[in-house]
């Protein structure tokens, strides 16, 4: 475990970049250097950054599919279950056998969408480890500009390739400014 001279645990070494384009170029270099535990931070999603970081497609879609299918099945259950024996409603003389199916479609559709949306909403938080109201990067004063116009890159100390001098050199070479050690506590 790396520690600062003052005895703080080191979380990462971080740098600020002047623009989205500079951050994009730096990310490609860090990716090619073989780092695994690192991330870039920006006020808006940067188009093409996933490739520059070597990240693939987000499989959040799997959760949404799961949510949608469960919604569809839930609706089918509450509609068909009672109608086919548990509690047959005879209203307006409308049929309650199989041929009544189209009348059930609107609610099957609505619940598919509802459950899919809930899955999407909770999956993006769950997969991102949010909500998490504390994070070591918030210890760095400059970092508050990340939601305004700041572009940052941080390589975590627990990355196997992390060495203080090596990472500092890489960040300098890629044009990083205000290079700093971010401590955990």
């Amino acid at each position: 475990m790396m520690r600062t001279p003052a005895g703080h645990k080191v979380y990462a070494m971080a740098a600020e970049y002047p623009s989205a384009a500079a951050l994009y170029e730096a990310a490609k270099r860090v990716r090619d250097a073989g780092f695994r535990r690192w991330d870039v931070f920006s006020p808006f999603p940067i188009h093409g950054m996933d490739d520059a970081m070597g990240l693939g497609k987000s499989w959040l879609s799997g959760w949404v599919l799961f949510g949608g299918v469960s919604g569809l099945l839930t609706a089918a259950l509450v509609e068909f279950g009672p109608s086919w024996g548990l509690y047959r409603l005879d209203v307006h003389g409308k049929p309650w056998n199989f041929w009544t199916v189209p009348a059930f479609f609107p609610i099957m559709f609505e619940l598919t969408v509802l459950f899919g949306a809930f899955a999407s909403f909770f999956a993006w938080q769950g997969m991102n480890g949010l909500p998490r109201w504390y994070h070591p990067l918030f210890n760095w004063e400059r970092f508050s500009r990340v939601t305004n116009d700041g572009f940052f890159l941080a390589i975590e100390a627990r990355d196997p390739r992390f060495t203080e001098n090596g990472v500092r050199e890489l960040l300098e070479q890629t044009g990083g400014q205000h290079i700093t050690i971010v401590h955990e506590d």
């Binding site: 989205a20 006020p43 990240l55 009672p82 909403f121 939601t147």
Partner: protein, 475 residues
């Protein structure tokens, strides 16, 4: 070849000819966007805001009083009576739920179509959707009379053996509207999180830092987060798109599945959806144009944005005009005497002027001004047309509902609808609730999606390079 543009001589000239107008004017940079948009929330409320809020909140309060009076006394406080069993209540319901549709169109459908200009207007349009759906939900809730029995609508297995009839169009409506509201809230809040983080990082007081901090969920703009976030946003847009089309289709089923002349019509779902988007865009502009002027957001909500919204109003208004025409044609072509009478009665019956002023002038004719570029770029003309459309769409729903009911099949059952003061003030009350909520929204939350509008400026492009002459171009 007279009048055709001359062939470009140089590459620069060619680039100029195909260049798109910028979505953020005056080369405003990222921090300007943050400052200006957050500033609306952070600076003290201007005096006009307090004046406006006092008026709207008073109307809202009196509207709530009317609702309380109606619930405690009974539906008889309204003018509804046989044959007109549905009147202003359902008119207002359809009116408000329709307004919501423009917000979802902007946030979801335009997102899927990669229309970047939506980023300046989507947040406030989505907020408008939520507030409109809240106003809409009041009416079907209270028009049932015994509001405390509303839980019968939920599929709760009880030993009372109360089970909803899932084959009823009214039941579909319950599910469609509640799903629509829930999904709209999730979508809106998801979009808000990065902007709440901006407000958290700029907060100067402890209470602001705490509250924005809680709701920002600890967002820190990490790309590994953006990756899942963008996928979630895309899928929410993909889910909302068929949802919004389904909601007004289901609302139209309330009418179309009945056997009443002018209601029993297969054209209703697309006709209602087009009308909803039409009326909703008019309301978006009604709210945005004053906000743009008051908060000096002219560089973000540009004439180009207004122009595009005006074009959508023209397009959907023409759909609506076509649907009106088709209804008359089918009434004649069907040979059904009740249907023919109902439409004849629509233009020459007791509610004739509702049709001539509301439907014909406000909905069909006034948007035709938008064929002219000058009209689309003149905010006063745009505002005039939007006000016409707001009124016209309310009249349209009144004509469909009361117009369909007041002339029953047998002349001995004919009647008219006269609104009572409770009818009128409940409606004005919902206008108050709607505008009050919107005024609170612009004061407490960023009314423009900062993290999204930032993707529409040139700096967001990672391939942007500055040539030695200081000019910027993309590789």
């Amino acid at each position: 070849m007279d009048g055709a543009p001359a062939a470009p001589e140089t590459i620069e000239e060619a680039e100029q000819q195909i260049a798109r107008a910028p979505l953020v004017l005056n080369r405003r940079n990222l921090s300007w966007l943050t400052e200006r948009i957050s500033g609306v929330v952070e600076q003290p409320a201007p005096r006009w805001w307090w004046v406006a809020f006092t008026i709207t909140a008073s109307a809202a309060t009196f509207g709530l009083f009317c609702l309380g009076y109606q619930i405690s006394t009974g539906v008889g406080t309204w003018g509804n009576n046989i044959p007109v069993g549905w009147a202003w209540d359902i008119t207002n319901f359809v009116f408000w739920i329709g307004i919501g549709h423009a917000g979802t169109l902007i946030s979801a459908i335009l997102f899927l179509l990669r229309q970047k200009w939506r980023t300046s207007i989507n947040r406030s349009a989505e907020a408008m959707t939520l507030f409109a759906v809240i106003c809409a939900a009041i009416f079907p809730g209270v028009h049932v009379g015994r509001v405390w029995m509303a839980w019968y609508l939920a599929p709760i297995p009880t030993n009372w053996a109360i089970w909803p009839n899932f084959r009823s169009a009214l039941m579909w409506d319950v599910f469609a509207v509640s799903t629509y509201f829930t999904v709209s809230v999730l979508f809106w809040y998801t979009g808000l999180v990065p902007d709440l983080a901006t407000l958290r990082d700029r907060a100067t007081t402890k209470i602001r830092k705490f509250l924005f901090g809680i709701f920002a969920l600890g967002w820190r703009g990490a790309n590994r987060h953006w990756r899942h976030y963008e996928m979630a946003y895309l899928l929410l847009a993909g889910l909302s798109t068929p949802l919004v089309l389904s909601v007004h289709s289901v609302v139209s089923f309330d009418f179309a599945t009945s056997i009443l002349p002018t209601w029993h019509s297969t054209i209703f779902p697309p006709y209602f959806v087009a009308g909803a988007i039409f009326g909703g865009f008019a309301m978006v502009l009604t709210l945005l144009l004053p906000c743009r002027a008051m908060f000096k957001l002219h560089d973000v909500i540009t004439p180009q944005h207004i122009d595009k919204m005006a074009k959508i109003i023209l397009l959907t208004g023409s759909f609506v005009g076509y649907a009106y025409m088709m209804e008359f044609f089918i009434a004649w072509y069907s040979g059904n005497s009740y249907e023919r009478f109902a439409f004849w009665n629509r233009i020459f019956g007791p509610y004739w002027w509702y049709w001539w002023v509301g439907m014909l002038f406000c909905n069909v004719l006034s948007p035709q001004l938008f064929w002219f570029r000058w009209c689309r770029y003149n905010v006063y003309v745009v505002y005039f047309v939007c006000m016409c459309v707001n009124a016209g769409m309310w009249f349209e729903r009144f004509i469909i509902i009361v117009g369909g009911l007041h002339r029953d099949f047998i002349p001995s059952s004919w009647g008219l609808f006269i609104p009572t003061w409770v009818d009128i003030w409940t409606y004005i009350g919902t206008l108050g609730i709607f505008t009050s909520l919107f005024l609170l929204f612009v004061r407490f939350l960023p009314m423009i999606a900062m993290s999204e509008v930032k993707t529409a400026v040139p700096e967001a492009d990672v391939h942007l390079v500055t040539t030695p002459g200081g000019k910027e171009r993309t590789r």
